[in-house]
Amino acid sequence: MKKASIIVLVLLGTVAMLFAQAAKEQAVSEVPVEFSMYYSDNATLPFKDSWLTVQETAKIANATVHYEAIPIADYSTKVSLALNTQTNAPDVILYQTTAGENQSLALNGAIVPISDYSEWTPNFNAMVEKYNMQSDINKIRLGDGKYYYLPSLTDVPFYDGGIILRQDYLEKKGLAAPKTYDDLYKILKAYKADNPTSYPLTILAGPRVLYRMTMPAFGVSLGRNGSGGSRVLSWDYEKLEFFEGAISEEFKAYISFFAKLYKEGLLDPEMAEPIDGGTWSRKMATGASMATWAYYDQIGGVTAASEIEGFKLQMYPALEGPAGAHHQQKNRLGSGIMFPTKTTKRSDFEQIVRAVDKMFFSEECSKIWCIGVKGVTYTEENGKIKYSDEIMNASEGIYKYMQLAYGCGSDVTQMVWVNAREMTKYDENYAAINAAVEAIGDVIQYIPPTPKFDDLKAEEAGMLLTPLADKFEVWCDAFLTGKKSIDKDWDTYVKEMKSIGIEKFCTLYNANL
């Protein structure tokens, strides 16, 4: 009994202390503007309040910002609840678009139509003008002609991932760098002949990275993680409308190519489950595979770990397929900043918007988010940026180190991405690849537009989409792995897709552009 009462006392004491602590945390300092903001926190780049970027930009905007770092895996849940209920919503939400549910939320009045307050976002407007993005901005306008978030702006999209091969192998065998998918096939074939137990081409994170990086070269963009959300439709860049990509000849050619690789043991069959980074790295590092589609930042770690002599991975420009040399589609606008309607009720709403605009889009601050503070992280001579020795000598590389140490270059907070400035953070090799990609031209096409659905149309589309996407996935896998024959079963597949309304779905999309 005595023991129990002591425990209770201790518990009560703890509770009291915690409350006192909470009260202290709520004590506010008196500053011109103060607001709370949701921040999507990635485990590989954990948010720090003390980051130079965070401190400096707040100082410049004369704002006290309460960053709420929310784990990225659950970010959308938290945001969705805040917007749906408007209770306990923050004043500002980072890393949002008006795709999916947000489109309905916006049209139903849960999100501030920020285009109505354009005079309060002078810095954003100036950047849009500077990089000539007016037409891109028009793409994010919803059915009512308004846009509901301040997107991040990229002048030229980067080629940050692509086909990655063992350069040392190519050199050893005297093989030229691949230009087309047929070239790749020959390389894989050669490697298989030398290493019969290997699967030369492996994939990262399930087939999704493979599909979305390779399909555009064949003229389609499909699947759960295709750019754009239609999953079974693709965009015709000439006619400017959607077509039934999942049952098109283009897709047939695409899947035939990879089915051939699969059949000949060139493509890693372990692709159904999400292969995680660890397994992927092991396969590459040990020579179980020699080719993959992945991201440039991932090369370094594998190269450092491999014990194969002369091991070297290299990323190559996008390969040419039947539809040309294309890579994953990208937009010049990315996720951006959103205001829940609740914030308009604050008397200092204008100040908040102005502070946010300054913090993220002003010339001065957008530079800080990218390369830090002059004199601390870099010096500038004749317009050339020179990073501090500490950064230059970091073992993680400039980019990664600046992220971790200063919070620079995070896609959550950096809103203006200027290709030339970005390249200063990478090695020459990366810059050279990007230059080569730019020289090819039109490698990175724009993401198909999102149809302007209201929530009722969205429900209708959603009901059609799920069975279509399910069926597509099953058939895609069956064709790839040879469980179904592309020659014999294709017509059955097309008929089935039509019977569950792929044409109706396509019409619905095209009617709401």
């Binding site: 489950e273 989409l465 896998d477 792995t481």
Partner: protein
């Protein structure tokens, strides 16, 4: 003490009606219930009004209880959907197999543990066997993929090197989906669930064993005639609860094991709801399916309870 008793008696005589007498005798028990009962009303029953969404259209941002009455629209939607019925069948099959294979394991394990002579060994086994419960599902699936990997997995290496067979891609083969699901579940939860049975065994009067021993019962007979009957009520309660949960397998594990190739057996109600309802923000649809599953669950649990009562005289209510 006798005095006290007398006073009680006189009081009871004064309270004429049976209800008054009942309350007088048991008021303390009723008082105990007030707070928990209030808890149930507040935290479990008030939010239940949210189920009205199954009959009303939910529109994001326009209030939590929907905007207009649509009747059985969402019910018709999934009743007409062949994917729903496939998911319904898959859910039932997987659940029933799961109960058949994994339900007895913790009971057998607890009994065996109880028969161990070495107390230290028993403690170690007990602690270790409960550890897998703490490995998150994602990691369990990752470990499984590793062991079952066709290229580097232990099992396939054994099959190829020792048995001279071709490697099998277990995680992607519909045929192996259910066994993998069930075995990994058994591995994770046997030790954990056994705790309840161990607690139940602890409560058995040791005189019963002594009596059985005097009657010349061997150890197996003691288990059969003393241990099992003594924990039978607990077994029945667990079984009834388990039957009531037939339709709710939880989606995380299946979602992680789901591949297009095994979808014909791995698509269950919870994953369907996740894809159709939640991923498309169709909350009304998800609510309607939830309501339907709830009704089925309630029917199952009450039938199981009735059967149990008629067979063993015990149930959960």
């Amino acid at each position: 003490m006798i005095f006290k008793e007398k006073r009680n008696e006189t009081l009871q005589i004064r309270l004429r009606s049976p209800l008054q007498r009942h309350l007088f005798r048991y008021w303390q028990l009723y008082l105990m219930m007030i707070l928990p009962f209030f808890y149930f009303i507040l935290f479990k029953y008030i939010p239940m009004f949210g189920n009205i969404l199954a009959f009303r259209r939910y529109r994001p941002g326009l209030g939590p209880f929907g905007t207009e009455w649509v009747g059985l629209r969402y019910f018709k939607m999934f009743f007409k959907d062949p994917a729903f019925w496939r998911a319904f069948r898959n859910t039932l099959t997987l659940s029933v197999l799961n109960i058949v294979f994994t339900f007895p394991l913790p009971i057998i394990f607890a009994i065996m543990l109880n028969e161990l002579r070495s107390r230290n060994f028993k403690k170690i086994v007990q602690t270790i066997s409960y550890m897998p419960r703490f490995i998150s599902t994602v990691v369990v699936i990752a470990i499984l993929s590793e062991i079952l990997s066709p290229s580097s997995g232990l099992l396939n290496r054994f099959l190829v090197d020792v048995m001279h067979k071709t490697p099998t891609y277990f995680m992607n083969d519909p045929q192996y989906f259910r066994p993998i699901y069930i075995f990994s579940g058994a591995w994770q939860f046997t030790g954990w669930t056994a705790i309840i049975y161990l607690a139940s065994i602890t409560g058995i009067n040791s005189e019963l064993y002594e009596a059985a021993e005097i009657d010349g019962a061997n150890r197996f007979q003691q288990i059969w005639n003393v241990t099992l009957p003594s924990i039978l009520p607990t077994i029945m309660v667990m079984l009834i609860l388990e039957v009531g949960r037939l339709l709710s397998l939880g989606f995380e594990k299946v979602l992680l094991m789901y591949t297009p190739a095994n979808s014909e057996v791995s698509d269950i109600i919870d994953t369907l709801v996740y894809r159709t309802g939640l991923a498309n923000q169709n909350y009304s649809y998800a609510t309607a399916i939830g309501l339907f599953s709830g009704i089925i669950g309630l029917i199952l649990v009450s039938s199981a309870n009735r059967i149990s009562r008629s067979l063993t005289g015990d149930g959960i209510y």
